[in-house]
C-alpha cells in the first residue's frame, strides 16, 4: 500500500508512466509461468470435460448419476471430515502446550514439526506403511505385550488413511491455532479460574471461543487439502475407500478418459472454492471485534 501511495505521489508530479510499467514488467515472468503451466492446463482439462468424447454434459451426468462415483464423493468428504476432526482434537492441546511452554522448549517442538514437514511426503507415507503393516513394529509390540492375539488391520483401510493423513496435516492446524492461542493473555484464564470456572468450563467457555478463528481456518485448510489428497490414501488406503484424487488419476492414467477426469476435477475445484468462500465470509474481515 505504501508503495502505491508513493507511486501516486509521483503520478501527481507527472513522471509515473515509466515506473508503473516497469514495476508491472517485474510480475510478467511469474504471471507467464502461472498462465502457461497452471491456468491453461486447468482450463483445457475443464474444457475437455465438456468436449470429450463429444460436446455436452454427459460426463457430469455419468459422474453424478452413478452410485459408484457418488460413493467415492461421499467417502472423500467423510475421510476428510474424519481427518479434520482427529487433527483438531490432537492439534489443539499441542498448540496450547506450545503457547504456554517456555520459549526454548517451544522452539524445539517447532523444529520437530517443521523437520517432519520438510521430509519427503512419499518417504513419510512409506514409513507409516512399515510401522502399520501386519508384521510392523506396532502390531509386533502389541502382540509381544500380549494385548492382542493377532495383528490389527491398520493399513490398506480407513484406519491407515486417517493415521497417515492426520500426521501430515497436523502442522497445518497447529500453526494457525498456535498463532491465535499465543495472543490470549494467560491472566484471562486465571481470572476465569478465580471466577469459579473449573478447567473444563474455562476451556469450553473461554479458551475455545477465543481460539475459534484459528480453529476454523486451520480446520478448513486441512479439510480442503484432504479433499484433494492423493499419495497417502493411495498408499495407505484400501480399494474399498477410494478418494476423489485417486479416481481422477485412474480416469486419466489407466482409462485415458480425460473427459471424466476433467469433470471430477471441476467438481473438486468448485467444492474447494465454495468452502474457501465460506471461510472468507465467516472469518475474513470481522474476527472477534464484537460486531
Amino acid at each position: 500500500m505504501a508503495l502505491l501511495t508513493e507511486q501516486e505521489k509521483i503520478a501527481a508530479v507527472g513522471s509515473i508512466r515509466p515506473i508503473r510499467s516497469r514495476n508491472f514488467a517485474l510480475t510478467v515472468p511469474a504471471l507467464l509461468l502461472l498462465v502457461v503451466f497452471f491456468i491453461l492446463p486447468v482450463v483445457s482439462l475443464l474444457l475437455r470435460s465438456v468436449m470429450e468424447p463429444e460436446p455436452g454434459l454427459q460426463n457430469y451426468q455419468a459422474l453424478l448419476g452413478s452410485t459408484t462415483y457418488l460413493k467415492i464423493f461421499l467417502n472423500t468428504f467423510s475421510v476428510s471430515a474424519l481427518v479434520t476432526a482427529v487433527t483438531l482434537a490432537i492439534g489443539f492441546p499441542v498448540a496450547w502446550a506450545l503457547a504456554i511452554m517456555p520459549k526454548r522448549w517451544a522452539s524445539i517442538v517447532f523444529a520437530v514439526l517443521l523437520l517432519s514437514m520438510w521430509t519427503n511426503l512419499l518417504t513419510r507415507t512409506y514409513a507409516w506403511m512399515v510401522l502399520l503393516q501386519r508384521t510392523g513394529i506396532i502390531n509386533k509390540t502389541l502382540m509381544g505385550l500380549g494385548l492382542i492375539s493377532e495383528p490389527l488391520p491398520l493399513v490398506n483401510n480407513l484406519v491407515g488413511v486417517t493415521i497417515g493423513m492426520t500426521y501430515i496435516m497436523l502442522p497445518f492446524i497447529i500453526l494457525p491455532l498456535y498463532g491465535v492461542i499465543r495472543k490470549i493473555d494467560p491472566a484471562i484464564l486465571q481470572a476465569a479460574a478465580l471466577c469459579g470456572a473449573t478447567r473444563w468450563q474455562a476451556l469450553s467457555r473461554i479458551l475455545i471461543p477465543l481460539a475459534a478463528p484459528g480453529m476454523v481456518s486451520g480446520a478448513l485448510m486441512v479439510f480442503v487439502m484432504s479433499l484433494g489428497y492423493f499419495v497417502t490414501p493411495a498408499l495407505l488406503g484400501g480399494t474399498a475407500n477410494m478418494m476423489l484424487a485417486e479416481l481422477i488419476a485412474q480416469f486419466v492414467q489407466s482409462l485415458v478418459n480425460w473427459g471424466m477426469g476433467g469433470a471430477a476435477a471441476l467438481v473438486l475445484l468448485v467444492v474447494t472454492l465454495a468452502l474457501y468462500a465460506v471461510q472468507l465470509k465467516l472469518f475474513g474481515t470481522a474476527r472477534m471485534e464484537g460486531r
Binding site: Q190, A191, G196, M288, G290
Partner: protein, 360 residues
C-alpha cells in the same frame, strides 16, 4: 477468630526466594495494601492468596480454615488484575454473569445480580457493550463488578490502576473507596505507588526483599518508620550520615560531622556506641533560616543548590556540610525563601524528637 491470617509464608523459585517470611492478620472489612517496589514479594503473596502459586512453606487461614490445598476456582475469592482480563468475546453483562453462570444460579437471580453490580460500578446501560468498545477505566470497573458479583469474602487487587493515566487513576481510586464502603468487602490491594496506598488503605504492609518491614496506618508509617526502607518509601526523606554516641530506651545521642551533637533522637535498629548510622529528616519538618545559627542546637549548616517553585510550596535543594544532598519543603510565601538564591548559606533546624536514627 481472626478473619484472614498469613503465617510464615515463603516462596522459593529455584535459588531465588521471592517471599521469605510473611506474617499478617487482616480484619473483616479492612482495606489492606501491600506496598513495595517491584520484586519485593507483594505480588507473589497476592498470587499465593489467589491460588496461582503454591507456597514453599507457611499457611493461609480464612476464618480459621487453611486455603492452601483449595484450588483457585473453589476459593471463592475475587480478583482484579493489573492487565485487562475481561473475556473479549463476551459482553459486559455476560462478563459479570460468568461467575454466576458457572455456579449454576437461576437466570432471574443472575439478571438481578448483574443489574445490581452495574449499578454499583455506575455502568448502567453498558451491559451489551463488548470490552473492546470501552475505555481502560471502564474495563477495570467491569472487572471489579465481575469480581464482586459472587460476594467473595476477600477481594484481591493487583495494581489495577497502573495502566491508567493519573487523572483517571484518582477518579477510580475514589470509586474503589466508595465501593469498599458500600460492600464492606475485605480488600487486599497491591501497589508500588505510596500516594495510592495512603489514599486508599486502612492499613499498609510495606514489603521489602520478600519480608514485611512494617505494618501500620499511613500516619503511623510516616511518623514512625521502623526501617530506613520504610522511611524512604513512604513519603520523602533526607538522610545524613552520623555516629551514635550512646543509645538507650530507643533514643540515641548522635554526632553529625565533627562539631554537632544531637541528643534524644528516636533510634531504630541496634547500634553500639561509636557505630555508623543515618539521621532521617522529613523535608517539610525542616525550618530554614539564613546564615548560620549558633552551635549546639539541632541545626545543620547547608548551602543552597537549587530552588524550585511548585505552587503551594517551594522546594529548596541544599548540600549539607558533610556532603549529603538535602531537600527542604517550605510553604508558599515563606519569608526567608523569597529572597533565597543559589550559593546562600542556610541553617536547617529540626526537632530531634521528630527525627529518626537508623543504624547502618
Amino acid at each position: 477468630m481472626t478473619f484472614l491470617q498469613i503465617r510464615g509464608l515463603r516462596k522459593d523459585y529455584g535459588i531465588v526466594t521471592a517471599v521469605r517470611d510473611v506474617n499478617l492478620t487482616v480484619e473483616r472489612g479492612e482495606f489492606m495494601t501491600f506496598l513495595g517496589p517491584s520484586g519485593s514479594g507483594k505480588s507473589t503473596t497476592l498470587y499465593i492468596l489467589a491460588g496461582f502459586e503454591n507456597p514453599t512453606a507457611g499457611d493461609i487461614l480464612l476464618n480459621g480454615d487453611s486455603l492452601i490445598s483449595t484450588p483457585s476456582h473453589k476459593r471463592n475469592i475475587g480478583m482484579v488484575f493489573q492487565r485487562y482480563t475481561l473475556f473479549p468475546h463476551l459482553s459486559v453483562g455476560e462478563n459479570i454473569a460468568f461467575p454466576l453462570k458457572v455456579r449454576r444460579l437461576p437466570k432471574a437471580e443472575i439478571d438481578a445480580k448483574v443489574a445490581k453490580m452495574l449499578k454499583l460500578v455506575r455502568l448502567e446501560g453498558f451491559e451489551d457493550r463488548k470490552p473492546a468498545q470501552m475505555s481502560g477505566g471502564q474495563q477495570q470497573r467491569v472487572a471489579l463488578a465481575r469480581a464482586l458479583a459472587y460476594d467473595p469474602p476477600v477481594l484481591l487487587m493487583d495494581e489495577p490502576l497502573s495502566a491508567l493515566d493519573k487523572k483517571l487513576r484518582e477518579e477510580i481510586q475514589h470509586e474503589i473507596r466508595r465501593i469498599h464502603q458500600e460492600t464492606e468487602v475485605t480488600i487486599l490491594y497491591v501497589t508500588h505507588d505510596q500516594e495510592e496506598a495512603l489514599r486508599l488503605s486502612d492499613r499498609i504492609a510495606v514489603f521489602s526483599k520478600g519480608v514485611i518491614d512494617q505494618i501500620g496506618t499511613g500516619p503511623e508509617l510516616y511518623a514512625n518508620p521502623a526501617t530506613r526502607f520504610v522511611a524512604e518509601f513512604v513519603g520523602d526523606s533526607d538522610f545524613v550520615d552520623c555516629r551514635v554516641l550512646s543509645a538507650q530506651n530507643g533514643r540515641a545521642d548522635i554526632a553529625v560531622g565533627s562539631s554537632l551533637t544531637i541528643r534524644g533522637v528516636p533510634m531504630h535498629g541496634r547500634a553500639a556506641a561509636g557505630g555508623a548510622a543515618a539521621l532521617m529528616l522529613r523535608p517539610e519538618r525542616l525550618s530554614l533560616a539564613r546564615g548560620s545559627v549558633g552551635q549546639g542546637s539541632a541545626n545543620l549548616a547547608a548551602t543552597v543548590t537549587d530552588i524550585t517553585f511548585l505552587g503551594s510550596n517551594i522546594h529548596v535543594a541544599a548540600a549539607a556540610e558533610t556532603g549529603e544532598a538535602l531537600s527542604v519543603r517550605l510553604p508558599f510565601g515563606h519569608e526567608a525563601a523569597s529572597s533565597l538564591s543559589r550559593g546562600d548559606t542556610v541553617s536547617l533546624g529540626f526537632d530531634p524528637a521528630s527525627a529518626h536514627v537508623f543504624s547502618a
